[in-house]
């Protein structure tokens, strides 16, 4: 079980000051165990802020979040995060990056080797174990990043526009590979993006947020069958959802 519940969450930057800015207001959400949920919205709707708070990188000014009933406070390994920026450690090889989490907890060399072998293979980087990150392309570095978080075995995977900086083709490959990894591990995934097509292709549920202050505007259930295929992107159902969401973001 790994279910995140957001309860009456409000966040104000510089609270009490003259330039106080409320970025999130009264958010109530529930992310079910093993579900894939996307959060979309125009820039400034606080979607990244919400995700970072779920990771525990900072605390909300009001309200709370729980993971399986346990209050979220500070970071821990149960909630792994993939960032939009390149977060791969340049001073470690691909393999050492992958086994970073287990190494933190004192895993033996044999265990580290196992984790490295398993996850470099899973993210399609077999043969690149001993490379330095600077020798890899942006897409490959993102794979290292995702492999590293998976290898750390969190309960919930928080992804903040992870494919935002990639070209269209790489992005589509990464999306279907991500779905494959998710299908095998059944972790709860919360995925922030501004790309509607990406959200529809990946998710069970899409949360549409409105900006200034950020509120939950609409929740779209995506009923497209799984496993998802690239052809689905051209079906009527897919395009209808996209059109509907698009209109909401336009308003």
């Amino acid at each position: 079980m790994s279910e995140i519940v957001v309860d009456k969450l409000t966040h104000t930057f510089g609270k009490g000051g003259l330039e106080a800015l409320t970025v999130l207001e009264n958010i109530d959400l529930k992310f079910e165990d093993g579900s894939f949920t996307s959060i979309v919205g125009t820039s400034g709707c606080g979607k990244s802020t919400l995700l970072k708070m779920m990771a525990g990188l900072f605390d909300p000014s009001d309200g709370q979040m729980t993971l399986d009933g346990e209050l979220i406070k500070g970071t821990d390994r149960r909630r792994g995060m993939v960032f939009q920026q390149d977060a791969v450690f340049p001073w470690m090889t691909v393999a050492k990056n992958i086994s970073y989490g287990p190494r933190l907890r004192g895993a033996s060399v044999t265990e580290q080797r196992e984790v490295e072998a398993k996850w470099t293979e899973m993210v399609g980087l077999k043969g690149f174990e001993d490379r330095w990150p600077r020798e890899l392309s942006g897409g490959m570095r993102k794979r290292v990043d995702i492999g590293r978080v998976y290898a750390n075995d969190p309960d919930v995977l928080l992804m903040d526009e992870p494919f935002g900086a990639l070209d269209a083709q790489t992005k589509e490959r990464m999306q279907s590979d991500l779905l494959e990894a998710w299908r095998q591990s059944k972790k709860t995934v919360i995925f922030v993006t501004h790309d509607l097509e990406e959200a529809i292709y990946l998710s069970d549920k899409i949360i549409v947020m409105s900006a200034r202050p950020g509120r939950v505007h609409h929740i779209e259930e995506v009923t497209l069958p799984r496993p998802r295929t690239d052809e689905m992107r051209l079906t009527d159902e897919f395009i209808q959802i996209k059109r509907r969401l698009w209109a909401m973001l336009e308003h």
């Binding site: 970072k52 990188l57 450690f89 001073w91 933190l104 750390n152």
Partner: protein, 258 residues
């Protein structure tokens, strides 16, 4: 043909050419009939002074005395700088406590401490090593702090969301991320060590390269003065080069190249 051209326009050949040109101009000036060799000794005199001092053993004695002070002072100063700089740059409480002191002392040139060090500790070996340590520490610590403050936030966030404790983030992320700055700190400290060494030996030392410079001035041995200057330049150059190759090996992961 192309390969030859590449070699001839390469770093080594052009570098040797420019040094050769300087030596040539110096030779032309010193071989003019109106040149006073007591002020501007010709190159053969300088070379002769080198061999005389080498044979007498004075040069090697001076060299070892100086290198010993450099290595000891450099080692003590930079080690303290790395330890203190890492802590100050990472932990806010320590920063607020220690940073004002560092900032207050930083603008003072290390040579300004010479009188007080002599008053307190006398003209001893300890005093000279202490002075070099201070000089190395001050230039190095600033770089180390800057390095720790420039650790990209996303690395810190990535490590913490994987369950790293504050100390683990410090050890496994902040320190390695700051190494480029730290190594630069070492190199600047090395240059500072030479500057301070010569100054310290000029003023108060019974041995060393600085002492030989002073001796050369006192007995009007311009060729010896010139020779020592070249030796100091060569030593500092060799040490910096050695450092650079260490840096290259340590920083193999880094994108930045020379």
């Amino acid at each position: 043909m192309d390969g030859l051209k590449k070699i001839l326009s390469g770093r080594f050949v052009l570098g040797a050419l420019s040094i050769g040109l300087v030596l040539l101009i110096y030779t032309i000036i010193t071989s003019r009939p109106d040149n006073n060799p007591a002020l501007l000794p010709p190159i053969p005199d300088i070379v002769a002074s080198f061999f005389t001092n080498l044979a007498a053993g004075t040069l090697l004695d001076a060299l070892w005395a100086s290198l010993y002070r450099i290595f000891l002072g450099f080692f003590i100063g930079t080690t303290l700088a790395v330890i203190i700089g890492c802590l100050v740059g990472w932990y806010k409480t320590i920063e607020y406590l220690v940073d004002p002191i560092i900032e207050a002392i930083r603008p003072i040139p290390p040579l300004a401490y010479i009188p007080i060090i002599i008053i307190w500790f006398g003209i001893e070996e300890f005093s000279r090593v202490l002075l070099i340590s201070i000089a190395c520490f001050m230039v190095c610590v600033v770089n180390v702090i800057a390095g720790m403050k420039n650790v990209p936030q996303v690395y810190v966030d990535a490590a913490s969301t994987m369950g790293a404790s504050r100390f683990q983030v410090f050890r496994t992320v902040a320190v390695p991320a700051a190494t480029p700055f730290i190594i630069t700190g070492y190199r600047i400290a090395l240059a500072a060590a030479w500057t301070t060494l010569v100054a310290a030996e000029l003023i108060a030392a019974p041995s060393g390269l600085g002492y030989m410079l002073q001796e050369g001035r006192r007995y009007f041995l311009t060729d010896q003065v010139m020779m020592i200057i070249v030796i100091i330049g060569a030593c500092a150059f060799i040490m910096d080069r050695t450092f650079r190759s260490i840096q290259k090996r340590l920083m193999i992961w880094s994108e930045t190249r020379e």
